[in-house]
């Protein structure tokens, strides 16, 4: 009468649609939470899921319920010291067993916490940056692979049929299959020759031999020239292409005017370039250089942490970068990328020097150099000098940024090259 059913293999993601609906309905809140999560992450640490927490009151499902007040009776278990008629002070938190309506989930928490998958999290990240779909796809996809030869197999599609191998195979098979009949044929022919030599060429035996010879020849002829199991196909396997290494320089102005908001935009800018590089290179080094009037190589925490007062000399950072390249990253074996973020301030006399440094020392060594000016007021000398650099080199990109959506155009060239 009872039935046992094994359901383990039938669809497990029955709640996927409902989950998507939930995410869509609370898009704004989740997006805000995801943006906060991005600020808390390291540049190189983008590709994992995230715990998102949004205020529980935003997503409550209300019902009519009783509020506090009035008279209520409670029956509780585990009495130890009370006798009837005892009068007890109200507990601070409103009394044992209270909170009848409160939270309909029975979850008395102020925050609703859940996990976003890596893909969903990346999606929110991309949305902020207004990336075109094609680029998103390119970034979100697994690293590209190249087909590599890996011997021969007996099954495959016609386009990868290997003719020489197949013919070799066929020759071998034909020889093997015809070997027996050939021996028999040779014997029969020898016997017939003997009979003929003895002058018995017209005898019954000779006729029988001739029939046999005919039959054997037919059998040999019937061995197919080529057969399906002779076919050999070239076998190819996927090999991930990124095989080279890259270094990414992050240059950040930390003078007084770079506040937390600007730094956050800068961080996204670095993240996006990093993400792009992870798609193309197996190994990526990050170098963080912060500068005001002097430049210093620092680790990531310090990079985004404090800011310092005082003027700005951009060339100090460029010089340091050049030194580091010469010292540690010979351009023959490293692909060099650089991203520079600043609010546009520079010491006036320094800007022409920056242009020279870029054009003569740095750009010839690098693949791509991206510069953003974050929430800058009027373009200043640095911007004008950089415009001349841009005109002179296709590897240089620059952009003024007010919001996160402005970041992507800096990389447009970079991504277009890959897409094409």
């Amino acid at each position: 009468m009872n039935r046992l059913v094994d359901r383990r293999l039938s669809g497990k993601n029955r709640s996927a649609v409902n989950r998507q609906r939930f995410l869509r309905r609370f898009k704004a809140q989740i997006r805000r939470a995801a943006a906060e999560a991005v600020s808390g992450r390291k540049v190189a640490d983008l590709e994992r899921g995230e715990r998102i927490s949004i205020p529980a009151k935003d997503l409550s499902e209300p019902v009519f319920h009783h509020g506090p007040g009035g008279r209520r009776n409670l029956v509780l278990p585990g009495n130890r010291e009370f006798v009837s008629g005892d009068r007890i002070d109200r507990p601070e938190d409103g009394g044992a067993g209270k909170g009848s309506g409160g939270s309909p989930d029975g979850e008395g928490m102020d925050e609703f916490v859940f996990e976003l998958t890596k893909e969903e999290f990346m999606d929110y990240f991309f949305q902020d940056l207004a990336l075109p779909d094609l680029v998103k796809k390119q970034l979100a996809a697994a690293p590209e692979v190249k087909k590599a030869r890996a011997g021969f197999v007996s099954q495959g599609n016609p386009s990868s049929l290997h003719v020489v191998r197949s013919m070799k195979q066929a020759i071998g098979r034909r020889m093997a299959m015809a070997a027996g009949p050939r021996d028999a044929l040779r014997e029969a022919e020898a016997a017939l020759e003997q009979l003929v030599a003895q002058g018995l060429g017209a005898s019954v035996e000779a006729d029988e031999l001739r029939d046999e010879i005919e039959a054997l020849k037919a059998r040999i002829a019937a061995v197919p020239f080529i057969d399906t199991w002779d076919l050999r196909y070239a076998h190819r396997v996927d090999q991930p292409t990124p095989s080279s290494q890259a270094v990414m320089f992050c240059l950040l102005d930390v003078s007084g005017s770079m506040d937390v908001g600007r730094k956050n935009i800068a961080k996204r800018f670095f993240m996006l370039l990093y993400l792009f590089l992870t798609r193309s290179y197996e190994r990526i080094d990050l170098v963080f250089i912060r500068h005001h009037t002097v430049a210093r190589e620092v680790d990531e925490e310090e990079f985004f942490a404090s800011r310092e007062s005082g003027g700005t000399v951009v060339s100090s950072a460029l010089e340091l970068m050049h030194e580091i390249i010469l010292e540690r990253y010979p351009s023959a074996s490293w692909n060099i990328y650089a991203a520079q973020a600043s609010d546009g301030d520079n010491w006036d006399n320094d800007s022409p020097r920056c242009r020279e440094l870029l054009l003569q020392n740095i750009l010839p060594l690098t693949q791509y150099y991206a510069y953003v000016e974050i929430e800058a007021e009027e373009p200043q000398s640095l911007w004008h000098e950089y415009e001349r650099v841009k005109a002179a080199s296709p590897r240089f990109a620059m952009q003024r940024i007010l919001t996160l959506e402005d970041i992507y155009p800096v990389f447009r060239e970079l991504f277009r090259k890959k897409v094409a």
Binding site: M1, N2, R3, L4, V5, D6, R7, R8, K12, N13, R14, S15, V17, N18, R19, R21, F22, L23, R24, R25, E61, P62, V63, F64, H65, H66, G67, P68, G69, G70, R71, R72, N73, L74, V75, L76, P77, G78, N79, R80, F82, V83, S84, G85, D86, R87, I88, D89, R90, G95, A96, G97, K98, S100, G101, D105, F112, V113, F114, E115
Partner: protein
């Protein structure tokens, strides 16, 4: 507590356990199921055929977040439930329920593949025999739900709502469902017996109903003036003529601006609320009954020598956890554990039948010494939590659980202990505990009071106060939901014990 029932006799010396290890296989599941069925038949448990499905933990989370319904329409709130369950499961904050079972025929019970053989046997006994027989026997389920029709109806509901999403957009449907879900608890008939559900009938009648309903509504909201007779009729045509308890039903039939498909969705939510209504009224009995039977059935098998000692150790540990009742001042206290109370009561009933004391004879003259199987069966069939507690909670169990009653009155600066587990208090404690399970006391009593059909078409709801308890802070938001469905302004008033009403809130449509 003593273990008076089975532990007395040592297990059969010629023991031949069904299995030794903790691994389960489909063959073993089948063997255990047959054995449990055999023993259940000895006790006369009457069940629907059951379908025992083995699923993974992910599938269990899925099942969990759709209240166990094997088929459900899509809504974000189920997604929220899913995320919450998934999170706490992944962080190890909670184990998943070992089983989910719903009252359908066949009765579907889920087993998780991760469980040991012992747990699978426990779940089979608990769900496929305990709950199953309760669903089939209890009068509330018999009158309010149709176990054979529900799966079909859920399929119909899912398809209909998916269809509406196609035609009218997901946003419109979602909004409507939000409002309906908010009113779900007020969408049940408490006294009237509902018609049976079935997909064929539903579909056939749906088109007919659409046309008919719209014509009815149109008539009620006729805009042509009927001036001549207005003088007399105005007083006579109070609408509705009597207050209505079922808000969703009233809205489905009378809301002036709903489209036919919207009425159908209101109806679907209402029907599903109605289907789950008995579940909410019999939690203690249902869980108590299922727990009592897994305990009894597995102990019986142990007596026959079919279960190993290791099996029993694991089983008892898990059983003990389920029926643990933390005291009121414990960190783990979150209300009275329905498993503990229900199991305690059924076990106590059996004791009263088999070994009554002097006290039991005074309190339960009819029960003491009667055939326990018959007495328990009668109790299971004819009660709900409220009446079950009022009828059967014994002084012995009140003492064992050390129950006491508190009065929390906002006009008094202290809490008062009204009664405890002593001779003077048994009846009071029992009555108050029974009241605690009365849904009518737990949820605010809100009814449709009047519609201004000749004026601004506004709807007035009345909240009839019980013990001066006011409505909570969600009221304005709830009114917005009602107004979204009604289409015109909605007001709510509270009526206190003296019949004085007080306007609480208004919401424009």
């Amino acid at each position: 507590m003593e273990t008076e029932m089975e532990s007395a006799a040592p297990p059969d010396a010629r023991r031949q356990p069904l299995s030794e290890g903790s691994e389960w296989t489909f063959e073993l599941l089948d063997v255990y199921d047959r054995e449990i069925a055999r023993v259940a038949a000895l006790y006369g448990l009457d069940t629907y055929p059951s379908q025992i499905e083995v699923i993974t933990s992910e599938q269990m989370i899925d099942a969990y977040s759709s209240v166990g319904m094997p088929v459900g329409y899509h809504h974000w709130s189920y997604g929220k439930q899913f995320l919450a369950t998934q999170k706490s499961y992944q962080r190890g904050q909670m184990g998943l329920a070992y089983e989910i079972v719903i009252n359908s025929s066949p009765c579907i019970a889920y087993l998780m593949e991760e469980n040991t053989m012992t747990m699978q046997a426990l779940v089979i006994a608990h769900a496929a025999y305990g709950h199953n027989s309760f669903f089939k026997g209890n009068y509330l389920f018999r009158t309010w739900t149709d176990a054979e029709g529900i799966l079909d109806y859920l399929v119909f509901a899912r398809n209909f709502i998916a269809d509406c999403e196609q035609r009218h957009g997901e946003a419109a449907v979602e909004e409507l469902l939000d409002s309906c879900h908010a009113l779900m608890n007020l969408g049940v008939d408490r006294y009237k017996r509902p018609a049976r559900l079935s997909m064929a009938k539903e579909q056939a009648r749906q088109a007919e109903r659409e046309a008919y309903l719209q014509s009815q509504v149109n008539d009620l909201w006729r805009t042509l003036p009927a001036k001549q007779a207005a003088g007399q009729t105005k007083l006579a045509t109070r609408f509705p003529s009597e207050p209505q308890e079922n808000l969703l039903y009233f809205i489905e039939k009378n809301a002036p601006r709903l489209e036919p498909w919207q009425r159908e969705i209101v109806r679907i939510v209402r029907k599903i609320a109605q289907y789950f209504y008995p579940q909410r009224q019999t939690q203690v009995m249902n869980e108590g009954w299922a727990t009592f039977w897994h305990y009894t059935l597995l102990n019986h098998l142990y007596q026959e020598g079919k279960l190993t000692d290791g099996f029993m150790m694991e089983f008892l540990q898990s059983h003990t956890n389920v029926v643990y009742q933390p005291p009121y001042n414990s960190r783990f206290y979150s209300g009275i554990n329905p498993y503990a109370l229900g199991f305690g009561m059924f076990r106590d009933l059996r004791r009263i039948c088999e070994r009554p004391t002097e006290e039991d004879r005074r309190w339960f003259p009819d029960l003491a010494g009667s055939d326990w199987v018959k007495s328990l069966d009668f109790a299971m069939r004819n009660f709900k939590d409220e009446s079950f507690v009022a009828q059967y909670l014994s002084p012995r169990l009140i003492r064992d659980m050390k129950l006491f009653a508190l009065v929390d009155d906002d006009q008094d600066d202290k809490l008062e202990v009204k009664a405890i587990h002593d001779d003077a208090g048994y009846r009071t404690v029992r009555q108050l505990l029974a009241d605690q399970y009365n849904l009518g006391n737990r949820e605010p009593n809100i009814q449709v009071y009047a519609v201004d059909i000749f004026g601004d078409r506004s709807l007035t709801l009345r909240h009839y106060m019980h013990d001066r308890r006011p409505l909570g802070e969600s009221t304005p938001e709830m009114l917005r939901h009602v107004a979204r469905l009604w289409g015109y302004p909605v007001r709510i008033e509270s009526v206190d014990q003296n019949g004085v009403s007080q306007q609480l809130a208004t919401s424009e449509a």
